[in-house]
């Protein structure tokens, strides 16, 4: 069991006082970010990323930096549950399903039970996903060492086609938004020929568009504008969480072990696919509703209805890091920001990372175990404090968040122009949300644009411009075929529905 040995090595890296302090700080910051309107995992990590530049430049500092940032992510995942349950405001898209039973439970006077169930099942989901990462990631990485440019491009293609296939809205809006991301990524100096692309004479565009600015604007400013549109008040249940409630709920939870297992599996499987966390939470809620004996009572405040989506969402959010580490393909916008962080610190995510930087990889994996334990303790003990943040009047919290976004945008490159760009992206984010254009594909395309283009060019060079390069052997052919299947999935499933349409109305499961 080489993994166990590597993991023990990782714990030795992660278990320093400095790193434990960073974990605690990261979790607390993360929960605050998850609770605050307009700040979520993705833009929270994006804003704090520049603060790690000096930390990461010290020897061994990249591990500390990734521990800080990933713990912010875990914290934000936990924090999303707090707002969903107490305020009926899902902090992140994958917390939407948590509101279905979490908020009614809180209204019924059992907010403590709902919160305990949410946090505990989040923890369980994350734990299963981390176990998966521990044992699967080295295998995937080893396998991916054989990948050449065509295979990598096929993996990118699979990532982006999965977005189209799994999107709930219009697939053409997903495509438009994704391709806009690729186009924005192409702006600036071309890395191969050195030519200026798409700058149209604007010197400011020489460096191109930075995805961190896009994330801060799209998710931060856009989200705040939407919140403001709804009015300035938050109404929520009081949060009380004493030890007795926690223990009582824990006694109740083992009854739902089957739901937990099912949701963990759904979460892990969907999390590896990009954009999987949100469908995973809905799917696991739907499955639990269908299969549980209490199914008809779902939606009125059932503990099981909180367990299912939270387990799946957290499992998916965590396993999204598996393709990020092993292939360099992030599964969620936040994983994309973490990937961007690695690139800025001078690390190349992908299969070679496991060979060249084992300390970093295993330190990070070990920190996932520790971070989630720390996180569970922090959220269980400090819920009232975090809920109090949402009671700070909006007229105070909103300008402070807006100032934080501006500072965050400036610090990425110390560039004034970026602050303006963030503002533009903010308006864009607001319009995208209103018109149902998804933002995650744009961000992912912006992050991966250059790598995808390089893989494409190299593959084309290898085959002298023959597109058949992507079907030249069994491996690349399978990935490309899978990608195309996902791309046309909306059409295929519609076709299946028509075929089955007359036989019965059970076609929804397809």
């Amino acid at each position: 069991m080489q993994e166990i040995q590597s993991l023990i090595g990782g714990f030795q890296v992660a278990l320093s006082w400095f790193n434990l302090m960073l974990m605690l700080a990261g979790i607390i910051l993360g929960v605050i970010i998850g609770v605050l309107p307009g700040l979520g995992g993705a833009n929270g990590v994006a804003i704090l990323l520049p603060l790690t530049f000096s930390m990461a430049s010290q020897p061994g500092g990249t591990t500390s930096a990734i521990i800080l940032l990933s713990c912010i992510y875990w914290g934000a995942l936990f924090g999303g549950a707090i707002t969903s349950i107490l305020f009926n405001i899902p902090g992140e898209p994958w917390s939407v399903a948590t509101t279905f039973d979490g908020y009614p439970l809180a209204q019924k006077g059992r907010p403590g039970a709902a919160l305990t169930a949410a946090f505990t099942s989040s923890f369980v989901g994350a734990l299963v996903a981390v176990l998966l990462i521990t044992f699967m990631a080295p295998l995937v990485a080893k396998f991916a060492l054989r990948f050449g440019p065509p295979e990598f491009f096929a993996v990118y293609l699979l990532t982006f086609c999965a977005f189209v296939g799994m999107s709930k809205g219009s697939p053409f809006k997903t495509i438009a938004s994704m391709m806009l991301g690729f186009a924005l990524a192409a702006v600036g100096t071309d890395t191969v020929t050195g030519q200026l692309r798409l700058t149209y004479g604007f010197m400011e565009l020489l460096r191109g568009f930075d995805f961190l600015i896009a994330v801060i604007g799209l998710f931060g400013i856009g989200e705040i504008l939407l919140t403001i549109e709804e009015g300035l008040e938050f109404k929520g249940a009081k949060a009380k969480l004493d030890m007795r409630v926690v223990l009582d709920t824990w006694k109740e939870l083992p009854r739902y072990w089957l739901t937990s297992v099912r949701s963990s599996i759904v979460g892990c499987l969907m999390g590896i696919v990009p954009g999987g966390a949100t469908p995973a939470s809905f799917m696991s809620y739907g499955l639990a509703k269908k299969m549980s004996p209490d199914g008809p009572k779902f939606g009125t405040g059932m503990v099981e209805g909180v367990v299912a989506p939270e387990t799946a969402a957290h499992a998916a959010g965590t396993s999204a890091l598996l393709p990020m580490l092993t292939l360099g393909v992030p599964g969620s916008p936040t994983a994309a920001v973490l990937l961007g962080g690695l690139l800025i610190w001078g690390l190349q995510p992908g299969p070679l990372l496991f060979v060249e930087k084992p300390d970093f990889v295993w330190g990070l994996i070990a920190s996932m175990y520790l971070g989630n334990i720390v996180g569970l303790i922090v959220v269980l003990t400090c819920v009232p404090l975090f809920a109090a943040i949402l009671r700070v009047p909006f007229a105070i919290i909103a300008p402070v968040i807006l100032v934080i976004c501006a500072i965050g945008a400036y610090t990425v490159h110390s560039s004034m122009f970026d602050v303006w760009m963030m503002l533009v992206f903010g308006v864009m984010g607001y319009a995208f949300k209103k018109l149902d254009y998804p933002m995650a594909p744009l961000v992912l395309a912006l992050v991966l644009g250059d790598s995808a283009e390089n893989a494409f060019r190299q593959a084309m060079l290898g085959s002298q411009g023959d597109l058949r390069a992507f079907f030249s052997n069994a491996l690349v052919g399978t990935i490309t075929g899978l990608a195309l299947l996902l791309l046309f999935w909306p059409l295929i499933s519609k076709g299946l529905e028509i075929v089955r349409g007359r036989n019965g109305s059970n076609g929804q499961g397809a």
């Binding site: 053409f172 438009a176 192409a186 807006l402 602050v419 303006w420």
Partner: protein
């Protein structure tokens, strides 16, 4: 939605769907045009600089034309209001001061610095949306910004644009 709210809507969802699709189409056209200029074919030593972006631009154009067509299709969903005047007013109340704030920091003539601009921005926001007393406003705005100053300039050593007050205090 009741009719009173419909009347106050700023354009229907359909109208703005069309605008968005046209903007996407324009963006796609810009990408295609510049890629053609750079060369989007197979050069002597491999794919030219515009090879990849060209196809990206083409796909944007195709997708936005389809989005445009589906926006033009008549249907009840398109008649929903995009944003009501009330909502837009709230958004503008936040966006306009924020744009002024960004302009105070980032303009080619004279930068007030992020710290001074932030104090003013938080103060204005609290005064007009929260109706707080000047004492509270002063405490919150100056306190928050001072905390940021310590965090960025001293703790993490990430310099932000500074204005006249920091210069007086001897920070550069």
């Amino acid at each position: 939605m009741d009719e009173a709210r419909q009347e106050k809507a700023v354009g229907s969802l359909r109208l703005w769907e069309i605008v968005a699709a046209l903007l996407f189409l324009a963006a796609g056209a810009l990408v295609v045009y510049d890629s053609r200029r750079l060369g989007s074919t197979w050069g002597s030593d491999g794919p030219e600089a515009g090879y990849f972006p060209f196809y990206i631009g083409v796909i944007i154009c195709i997708a936005s034309v389809i989005n445009l067509i589906s926006a033009l299709k008549p249907g009840a969903a398109g008649d929903k209001p995009f944003v009501t005047w009330e909502q837009l007013k709230m958004v503008l109340i936040v966006m306009v001061p924020y744009a002024v704030y960004v302009a105070l920091i980032a303009n080619p003539l004279y930068s007030l610095g992020i710290y001074e601009a932030s104090v003013i921005f938080i103060a204005v926001f609290m005064r007009y949306l929260g109706k707080y007393t000047w004492l509270k406003i002063g405490a919150v705005s100056v306190g928050t910004v001072a905390a940021f100053f310590v965090m960025f300039e001293i703790w993490f050593k990430v310099p932000l644009p500074k204005g006249p007050i920091e210069a007086l205090l001897g920070f550069q």
